[in-house]
């Protein structure tokens, strides 16, 4: 709606200015003008006939728009519109109606599943159910709400299980934490480094590099994971072939617990580096140039400028990158699912993958819900610590 509106406005300005100086209509437009000229672009770059047609159209339009008859009608329309908007009744609740679609969708697809997950985590799931949960009598009709599942209340059993008994969950927690501890610092440092390089004045073809680095974000999760699976294949993968060629020997990328986790770290870093780099680059570009100049005059070296100007100025952006990477890493699923399958011997199974296994392979929906709740708590704690520590203001 908005673009049409502003386009109309600028076209009108264009027309009226042409109307006042009719001489200008006879010449092709010298520079790019708003409104009509925008669609035909510069006369030089398009075929001549098109440019001339635009000028003729322009002239006709401006003649029409400046004619007394047109103006009289337009004024009448404007007055009517003012009258109408004055008589439209004010409905106090109307704004809420306008914003309600979001809340409806939010409630159905986010709020309900969240609350229901918490609810489920105290039950054992026994199977689907068609039984009626409750019936609401609206006199004219009856609304029956079905019981979604057959549930058996188990209290805090699931939580005690995941805390004290489930060694596979502990393994998943360890794996995820390992990936987090290696991957997040690596990605933040790399992201900052690439952003700094791309922000430097002497780099040419910045947009090309920027696009290339940011491109992986646009690739499909499964597609890129599959390619990594092929690249890092221990026997026929290109990576090992290259390593062998330069005399470094093969690395058991997917068959060794340690290297399998490293493979995941590399994959995730490859995909998300560009995203973080773009955010950090945007942050870097908001640092006022004068602060660097002031620091330069104050005697700061390059490193000191980075340390005392760039880093503090970038702090909120860095915090965002760290927190969002943390959340992202704790939710990692597709990469281990496709590349390692959680193996070798559960060395790379992640929490979300474990939830998936519990929920959809073993149909332990209750227990999977409990693990999900635990994950939310864990990520929340991490984020709160980071925000407390990293964002003093």
């Amino acid at each position: 709606m908005a673009p049409t509106h502003s386009g109309g406005g600028s076209r009108f300005r264009e027309a009226s200015s042409l109307g006042r100086f009719p001489v200008r209509c006879d010449r092709p437009p010298e520079r790019r003008k708003p409104g009509i000229a925008r669609t035909t672009t510069d006369a030089g770059s398009t075929p001549r006939g098109e440019g001339e047609r635009a000028v003729i159209l322009n002239t006709i339009q401006s003649r029409v728009r400046t004619s007394p008859a047109y103006r009289a009608i337009a004024d009448q329309v404007r007055y009517r519109r003012q009258d109408v908007s004055g008589t439209v009744p004010k409905i106090p609740a109307l704004p809420y109606l306008y914003i309600s679609p979001f809340f409806v969708l939010f409630a159905v697809f986010l709020l309900f599943p969240t609350v229901y997950t918490l609810y489920l985590s105290f039950f054992n799931y026994l199977g689907a159910s068609n039984e009626v949960l409750l019936t609401v009598d609206f006199v004219v009709f009856q609304l029956t709400i079905p019981q979604i599942a057959n549930l058996q209340f188990v209290g805090l059993d699931h939580y005690t299980r995941l805390l004290f008994q489930d060694s596979l969950f502990h393994q998943a927690l360890f794996n995820t934490s390992f990936i987090f501890l290696v991957q997040v610092p690596l990605m933040v440092v790399l992201g900052l480094a690439t952003a700094l390089v791309l922000d430097a004045k002497f780099i040419r073809a910045k947009s090309v590099f920027r696009t290339l680095i940011a491109l992986p974000v646009a690739t499909g999760l499964v597609a890129y994971s599959t390619i990594f699976l092929l690249l890092f294949n221990g026997d026929v993968g290109v990576i090992n072939y290259a390593l062998e060629t330069i005399g470094l020997g093969r690395v058991p990328w997917l068959s060794d617990a340690w290297w399998a986790r490293i493979t995941l770290v590399i994959a995730v870093t490859w995909r998300w580096l560009g995203y973080n780099m773009i955010i950090l680059l945007a942050g870097l570009q908001t640092v006022p140039e004068q602060l660097y100049e002031a620091a330069e005059v104050d005697g700061a070296s390059r490193w000191q400028k980075f340390r005392f100007v760039t880093l503090p100025q970038l702090r909120p952006v860095l915090l965002f990158v760290v927190v969002s990477s943390t959340i992202g890493t704790f939710q990692i699923f597709a990469e281990p699912y496709v590349i390692t399958g959680g193996g070798p011997s559960n060395a790379t199974i992640t929490i979300v993958q474990y939830i998936y296994n519990q929920a959809f392979l073993q149909l332990n929906l209750g227990y999977a819900s409990a693990v999900s709740v635990a994950l939310v708590i864990l990520v929340s704690i991490m984020s709160i610590i980071q925000i407390r520590y990293g964002g003093a203001e």
Binding site: A294, A295, V297, D298
Partner: protein, 377 residues
């Protein structure tokens, strides 16, 4: 502290093919301890010159020397200059204490205690000792300005550079800070280059004033000199507020004839020897209202601005607009016909083509205290 020698300074911006010359062949010496003000309209190259002196811009050609040492290729951090920026450029994440102490922390081996002591000393000097633990965003414009000054002076720089430091302040604070800056500069006796677009500020503050236009130095001199003896029409027009009145006149024997029945008979015809046309300049403060029938500038009053202590009369003489400063008691109604006159010693004449000065003020500059007192009585 340091004498600054600028020789044949040239600075171009832009890529090859489409170059903009910001500063062209600028020669200037700023004496040790001098307060030099660079003034000119926007885009005249004054800030670029200052940034070249600071080392924030590479020069295209020419050289800059501090006390005979060529610093042209040195970076800003190697030059021992301090700079106050227009928007202060305080480090937003640091307290006032850290901001002021920052240059010492970077460039000296002083201990933290020594630095703190020095910061407090400077803060007391500037009257901001109670703000030391605040962040810049909690401060008013004037306070930020003082912090920026503090950061500049703490290092005892050889050269002090200020880029329109007062232009973000309101009018009243600006005049207060103007005086403070001058006092501070005199106290520290540091060579200072100061950029402003405000000619009043330039006149009030500078030991000498360098007037630039379109990248070229027009004139260097003290306030009196540039006001009384401008080298060309541009300087005459730029210095003085309201601006000088300028009229193109034909020379007819000993008479200057211009638009709207302007006629002025010269006592000394030698000024216009061999000229058929000349640009005539009269400052608003030199125009007197005279009675009907007399005077050389018959005109019609268009607007009267009451300043309290005086009035500005805006009038039209033919197609030329005139401005006159007259005593506040004189308030002719708008639309009335008036006549102005001026003394020949206050007359400026400029060449029509080159715009160079032909004649500037010739009256005595210093009448002496006794005579002044005598005249006033």
């Amino acid at each position: 502290m340091a004498t600054i020698d600028i020789t044949k300074l040239r600075k171009e911006f832009g890529d090859e093919g489409e170059q903009i010359v910001a500063v062209e062949d600028l020669d200037l010496t700023i004496e040790d301890g001098e307060f030099m003000v660079f003034v000119g309209p926007s885009g005249c190259g004054k800030t670029t010159t200052l940034r070249c002196v600071a080392g924030l811009e590479d020069v295209s050609s020419g050289s800059i020397e501090f006390d005979g040492v060529d610093v042209t290729d040195q970076r800003a951090r190697e030059r021992n200059v301090a700079m106050v920026f227009q928007n202060y450029a305080l480090y937003p994440h640091m307290t006032v204490r850290k901001n002021i102490g920052f240059p010492l922390r970077l460039s000296t081996k002083q201990s933290s205690d020594e630095i703190d002591e020095r910061v407090e000393e400077i803060a007391t000097l500037l009257g901001i000792e109670s703000l030391l633990d605040d962040k810049p965003k909690e401060l008013s414009g004037g306070q930020q300005q003082r912090v920026a000054l503090g950061r500049a002076i703490i290092r005892d720089p050889e050269v002090f550079l200020m880029d329109e430091p007062l232009s973000n302040l309101d009018a009243k604070l600006r005049s207060v800070m103007r005086t403070e800056l001058q006092e501070l500069q005199q106290e520290l006796d540091v060579t200072t280059a100061y950029v402003t677009h405000d000619q009043v500020e330039a006149m009030a503050m500078g030991d000498r004033i360098a007037i630039l236009n379109e990248g070229r130095l027009q004139q260097v001199g003290d306030a009196n000199e540039v006001y009384r003896s401008p080298t060309n029409e541009f300087v005459a027009g730029f210095i003085g507020s309201p601006s000088i009145n300028l009229v193109t006149a034909e020379v007819d024997g000993d008479t200057l004839v211009g638009p709207g029945n302007f006629e002025y008979v010269l006592d000394d015809v030698s000024w216009v020897d061999g000229r058929s046309r000349v640009r005539v300049g009269v400052r608003p403060e030199d125009m007197h209202l005279v009675e009907d029938g007399a005077g050389s500038m018959p005109s019609e009053v268009t607007v009267v601005e009451h300043m309290g202590n005086e009035n500005f009369l805006y009038a039209r003489m033919g197609e030329v607009d005139l401005t006159a400063r007259v005593p506040s008691k004189m308030r002719p109604p708008e639309g009335s016909r008036v006549r102005f006159d001026f003394d020949e010693e206050d007359l400026y004449l400029f060449d029509v083509d080159t715009q160079e000065s032909v004649k500037t003020k010739t009256g005595e500059t210093d009448v002496g205290y006794e005579q002044y007192v005598h005249n006033s009585v």
